[in-house]
Amino acid sequence: MLPWLEVGFANPNGSHAAARTARRAVDEARDRIADTIGLTSGEVVFTSCGTESDNTAIAGTIAARGGVALCSAAEHHAVLDPVMHVNGVVAPVGTDGAVDANELGAQLRALREASHEVTLVSIMAVNNEVGTITDMAAIAAVVRREAPGAWLHTDAVQAACWLDLREITALVDMMSLSAHKFGGPKGVGVLTMRDGVRPDPLLRGGGQERGRRSGTTDVAGVVGTSVALAETDAERASMVEQIAALKNELVDGILSAVDGAIETVARDRTVPGVAHLCFPGVENEALLFLLDREGVCASAASACASGAMEPSHVLASMGIDRSVASGALRLSLGHTTTSDDVARAVKVVAASVARLRQRTGSI
């Protein structure tokens, strides 16, 4: 992507030679993404982030079609908040954080029978906190049956590294991606729209992206995004295998080193890149501080505007008691993670939890 920050800086929508060069880069990037995810180029819209993609899908659909939006209780705030904003409906999740397709079907049926027209269903492909994989095929089948007029959107931001996106785009009408989750730059998002699916744009203006998202395209950003996604796709199979093995080392290591540690969702239900654990009786704010001091970068839940940890709505939606949820820890694994990293993380987590437990109650 670097050449497009240096020599190929022209606005791709201009009518001169430099613009055409930039335009070609954008077109090629779009083609590359379309090929990678099994769609046509016209179905790929560039945005500024995953959040914009989600907001466009939800607010844009309700603006274009009216009706009711529905999402799962464990969605990222980028979905949950726009759905709440349009007075939408929330579907409960099970203890694994995923929506049960049968229950969703019953809920959609009840809404239909109460004469509420659901026009948008948004169910995340992979949960960003606990890593749970949704059975999108089952969800899609039930949505098509019980709410045949609804557009089905999925936030696949956390899925890109671990799942074949072709299988997802074959099931849904819209899909959100965020480039930095698969090695691309921050500040680029993708929203796919199947032919005939046309939410109102959030941004109006110059009519870029076929009027679906006005604003000058970030040429370098979309080029980087397309290459990162193509490489991610090419390496996915081997990466999944490799990271799954490391995750086993990590989680098994922590479970055996820390008494009472809980693996929040079983490994066969989650992606390899997310290891989520709970340490009852430990405050994750304190735990994160100690981990950070030892060079282990982890997270617990989403942070609010001030940077403070907020209690996780995802864990709450899964019915996990707040006292357990306050000891939640999410460790991420990626293509740079090594077995040594994992061994060190196990050691540091075990020592930090032990320290906090020793100090709690002694005061």
Partner: protein, 355 residues
């Protein structure tokens, strides 16, 4: 030492962090997220956190945010609301110091391996001749905040640092200016941090406490007017009672709201009617242990200390006998005891309602 310095985003705590860093301590700044609700004042708004973080970045120290909003609601906001319900006049800043900054944060600091917690309060930690630490008034007497820190006992004082206590406020601002800190000219916070200025105490409480109308009467029982919320009436108050102007200044001298009266009565009278020889103080904390005899007593954050003699009964309740009669202090307010030379804190507690 490893020092965790509480940074509110104000100038005092900014300079406190700078001073500790310059003394060679390993300093980490922490801003507490205390209030989950809306707020535009005090020390938990997002812009204050931004200020604290930017100052920490300028100083080259780490900065973290701890979310203590559950504890804050439990120990500060809920008791504040409950106190109004039963006719007390609480001081939430003192309860925040007691339960959050020097209890919850202290425990957290201990867990994380810090040797001390520092804040930007204007007070000093000095020592008795025998080496025991004591809480002394700040160098800037008009800005002294030892009153709101009176609950710090000896064991806690060992682990507390108050670096700006040796400086005047002007000196603190000059230091901040010299360091180029963005908080150098930031105004002092004044109000209760969890009450939006647009809403005020009434607005905040009216969603949370059922307001009871009361009649305003003089000491002979003649009705002079009414107030809509007896819960908002404070002993000694003279404004907002709906009384016609022009007459003599009248103060609230009593609030009768026992179970026997159907409509509570707010009794008003002249300043003399507020005078008393003694006050009783409960929930007393002592820096070293109970003391009796001659002391100076301060009854508000920046009030003048007054000479009194104290005794302690079997239940730990302190009786203060004034040398010269004093206006009564609203129940629920903190009364802080200083040595007779007005140098250091002996203890303090909450003024009890009259028996």
């Amino acid at each position: 030492m490893r020092v965790l310095v509480g940074m509110s985003g104000g100038v005092d705590s900014s300079v406190a962090a700078a001073l500790l860093r310059d003394e060679g301590h390993e300093v980490v700044g922490v801003t507490l997220r205390l209030w989950g609700g809306e707020s535009d004042t005090g020390c938990c708004s997002v812009s204050d956190v931004d200020d604290a973080r930017r100052v920490a970045q300028q100083l080259g120290i780490d900065h973290v945010v701890f979310n203590f909003s559950d504890d804050f609601a439990e120990h500060v906001v809920d008791p504040y609301i409950d106190a109004h319900r039963v006719g007390l006049t609480p001081n939430p800043c003192i309860e925040c110091n007691r339960h959050l900054k020097f209890d919850r944060l202290m425990d957290r600091a201990d867990q994380l391996g810090f040797d001390a917690v520092a804040t930007g309060h204007h007070a000093r930690i000095g020592h008795h001749d025998d080496g025991r630490p004591r809480l002394e008034r700040g160098a800037d007497r008009p800005k002294d905040q030892s009153y709101v820190l009176h609950m710090l006992d000896e064991a806690t004082l060992h682990r507390v640092l108050l670096p700006v206590g040796d400086f005047t406020k002007d000196e603190v601002r000059a230091l901040a200016q010299r360091l180029g800190l963005r908080t150098a000219a930031k105004p002092d916070s004044q109000d209760v941090c969890f009450i939006p200025t647009t809403q005020g105490r009434r607005g905040f409480l009216e969603d949370r406490v059922p307001f009871t109308p009361a009649s305003v009467v003089d000491r002979n029982g003649s009705e002079l007017g009414t107030v809509t919320a007896v819960e908002l009436v404070t002993l000694g108050q003279r404004r907002g009672l709906g009384l016609p102007g022009g007459g003599p200044v009248r103060y609230v001298v009593d609030v009768e709201r026992g179970p026997h009266t159907s409509t509570p009565k707010v009794v008003v009278g002249d300043a003399d009617a507020l005078l008393t020889n003694a006050e009783r103080v409960g929930q007393v904390t002592w820096v070293h242990g109970p003391v009796t005899g001659r002391v100076l007593v301060q009854s508000s954050a920046h009030g003048e200390p007054v000479v009194g003699d104290i005794t302690v009964d079997d239940e730990g309740i302190v009786e203060v006998t004034w040398h010269l009669r004093q206006s009564r202090v609203a129940p629920g307010q903190s009364m802080v005891l200083y040595d007779a030379d007005d140098c250091f804190v002996i203890g303090g507690g909450l003024v009890l309602p009259r028996r």
